[in-house]
């Protein structure tokens, strides 16, 4: 497989994304290196084939957005909405991620080795997220399906208005959001956490995680709930 390099200091982003949408699909190039990203937004968005993209440095908003099948690695940190609405494949951030990481992801795996900002995994729809560090407040807000593994701590209102997504946290949770509750870790949970940690390449004891899921008490309108949601 051929390797190709795009230098964003010399080539416009449009050229990179166009290649990734068209030329990359011919299957000759297996690996693309992106140099000098310099925080540019929308790097490697809308990929639709199994190609490896390595962004050497920091990415701006929506890096790897709506990814399908591809593996996107960011050696630095990522801005808002990294891997938003991912369908499949993998996005791996070696540094930190800003707000809304993995928002509404339907599938695939998002790995953030460092910390993630606010609303990590918001509206998650089936994707998996592993965060090596901590996550900010309102993470997993209204998360519908999929799993989040948080190796550090979580901020306020974790898992507010959760649907069927499941969260695993190793560290401290500042507060749970409305309708989220701690549950027993089953053997299945431990296996799931172990597998996700393994895929993320992170070394933690899966038994040290707590499980958080929905109480399902907000699934239906209820006058007696006193608007506590």
């Amino acid at each position: 497989m051929e390797r190709l390099t795009f230098d964003l200091a010399a080539q416009p982003l449009r050229e990179l994304n166009t290649f990734l949408h068209t030329g990359a699909k011919e299957g000759k190039v297996g690996h693309v290196t992106v140099l000098n990203p310099d925080g540019a937004h929308n790097i490697a968005v809308g990929l639709d084939c199994p190609i490896d993209v390595e962004v050497v440095g920091h990415a701006g908003y929506y890096a790897g957005g709506m990814n399908k099948a591809a593996t996107v690695t960011i050696t630095g940190s990522a801005g808002t909405g990294v891997a938003e609405n991912m369908m499949s494949g993998k996005v791996h951030v070696k540094g930190f991620a800003s707000n809304g990481a993995g928002a509404s992801a339907h599938g695939g795996l998002l790995v953030i080795e460092g910390d993630a900002g606010l609303r990590c995994g918001i509206s998650l729809k089936g994707g998996n997220i592993v965060v090596g560090g901590s996550v900010g407040s309102f993470s997993a807000f209204m998360a519908q399906a999929g799993r989040m593994v948080i190796c550090g701590d979580a901020g306020d209102a974790l898992g507010d208005s959760l649907y069927e997504a499941v969260l695993y946290v190793k560290g401290e949770v500042k507060s749970l959001g409305a309708d989220a509750q701690y549950e027993e870790m089953s053997a299945e949970d431990i296996a799931a956490v172990a597998s996700l940690l393994d895929q993320a390449g992170l070394d933690h004891d899966p038994k040290a995680f707590k499980r958080i899921a929905s109480k399902r008490s907000l699934y239906h309108w209820n006058a007696d709930a006193n608007q506590e949601y």
Partner: protein, 453 residues
């Protein structure tokens, strides 16, 4: 013998203006349930609207066109600012975004069939794109909503344009709502939700906040689709002057402004009736914003919210809209609030089903229950059979055709060879309120309230 004067009887039965029977019902309902009322459709109260404007047809000072023979163009192009492939429509009347979930799959298909025959577009909704509507609709606008239910890059690439929905006229500031009765297995799967859940969607997008972020989000959507597709930004009408300016700043090709008469499949009544501004006021503000930025004609404006007739369309265009979008009018054309439905070659009485909902044809707003007596706003396997795609499409096509004929009739009478040549100067207002909101003179005067004498 003691007699009471007749007037006393009337006085003793005087209805309170503030505490009228409707308000008494409202209070009793609140007391009984401890929950606000949720319903479908749009604002029911009397609002200044397009009926408060009239056209100044050509006479001595203007030259009319022959109503039946002379050409009057209706072609409409949307999304010319950045998109490589702008949307080209035969008529300036489009179908507003309504979800599969709110509407049955049959209805979505009917919309697509009729729109395709008439050369116009349909729009998805808060539930993703169904294959039925993609197949049936030649020009399909794909919404990107806060909930992102069913949102995916494949459908994004299949769409002809993308509409980023910030808000909706019936509920600016609120998210979508779909009560459990309508969350059947197919709807649940498309939205990744448990079956039967009372779905309350997010009111803010998950991955951006504010216009500067939106500019980057729009760039992302353009990058994903290789700058081919027009990007619309839809706002519910509130601070329309500023919102339209910010939408343009964010890079929209087309701005959709939805006034408070716009419909919904389910929202709190207090929201529908008390949040947002009338469409009439919103159009003026939107056009002013575009003119202020010198973007009139560069960024197109679609107006929606209570558009019913060809005259409404003509007035919206004259005020400066490039096209309109219709939701509720379309549903009525399909049979909404009708006394009968058409199935197996014959009409069937639906009144008992309306009565079971506590209503009667002409007043029904029970879209939220999923028990639509005429099979439109339902996910029920039996009810949805009451509207077949072919029959629905035929009626909708007739409706759109009528609107377009009315539109061109008025345009010709005003001496325009192209409906887009209608202008504010062709309009006057019948009420001071409408004159002030629409920014056209009160009929018979030169007076536009707020602009001095």
């Amino acid at each position: 013998m003691e007699t009471k004067p007749v007037q006393f009887k009337n006085l003793s039965r005087e209805e309170s203006y503030g505490f009228d029977r409707k308000t008494l019902d409202y209070i009793r309902n609140a007391a009984a349930h401890g929950l606000y009322e949720i319903r479908g459709m749009g604002a029911k109260r009397k609002l200044p609207n397009f009926d408060d404007l009239v056209f100044l047809g050509a006479s001595m000072s203007r030259y009319p066109l022959e109503g039946y023979r002379e050409k009057c163009l209706t072609k409409t192009v949307l999304g010319t600012r950045f998109a490589k492939k702008p949307i080209e429509l035969d008529i300036p009347i489009t179908i507003a975004g309504m979800s599969f979930g709110a509407l049955s799959a049959n209805v979505k298909e009917a919309l697509g069939l009729a729109a395709t025959e008439m050369g116009t577009s349909t729009t998805t909704g808060d539930g993703g794109m169904t294959q039925e509507e993609r197949r049936s609709s030649r020009t399909l606008i794909y919404q990107c909503l806060p909930s992102r239910y069913g949102f995916n890059p494949d459908d994004l690439r299949k769409a002809d344009a993308i509409e980023v929905v910030i808000g909706q006229g019936a509920k600016p500031g609120g998210g979508g709502m779909l009560l459990g009765q309508k969350v059947n297995p197919r709807v649940a799967k498309m939205r990744t939700l448990p079956e039967g859940v009372d779905q309350r969607s997010a009111c803010r997008h998950p991955d951006w906040t504010g216009p500067d972020d939106l500019a980057i989000k729009i760039q992302e959507l353009r990058e994903i689709t290789d700058w081919e597709k027009p990007i619309y930004v839809k706002v519910g009408a509130t601070r329309t002057f500023n919102d339209v300016k910010l939408a343009v700043h964010s890079g929209a090709d087309v701005v959709v402004v939805d006034g408070m008469q716009g419909g919904t499949a389910a929202t709190q009544t207090c929201f529908i009736e008390h949040v947002g501004i009338p469409t009439l006021a919103a159009v003026r503000q939107a056009v002013n914003a575009l003119e202020d930025l010198d973007m009139k004609g560069k960024v197109q404006l679609i107006v929606s919210g209570g558009i019913r007739t060809g005259a409404d369309v003509a007035k919206a265009l004259a005020m400066g809209a490039d096209a309109v979008a219709i939701g509720q009018g379309v549903l009525v054309a399909l049979g909404c609030n009708g006394e009968t439905y058409f199935q197996n070659g014959g009409h069937h009485d639906a009144i008992a089903d309306y009565n079971a909902l506590g209503t009667t044809p002409g007043f029904c707003h029970h879209c939220h229950t999923g028990k639509c007596p005429v099979g439109i706003t339902t996910q029920d396997a039996i009810l949805e059979q009451r509207l077949s795609p072919a029959v629905g499409a035929k009626h909708l096509k007739n409706y759109l055709k009528t609107l377009n004929m009315e539109l061109t009739t008025i345009a010709r009478a005003c001496g325009k060879q192209n409906v887009h040549h209608l202008e504010p100067e062709d309009l006057v207002a019948l009420t001071i309120e409408a004159a002030a909101m629409a920014g056209v003179p009160l009929a018979g005067t030169n007076w536009i309230p707020g602009r001095g004498f």
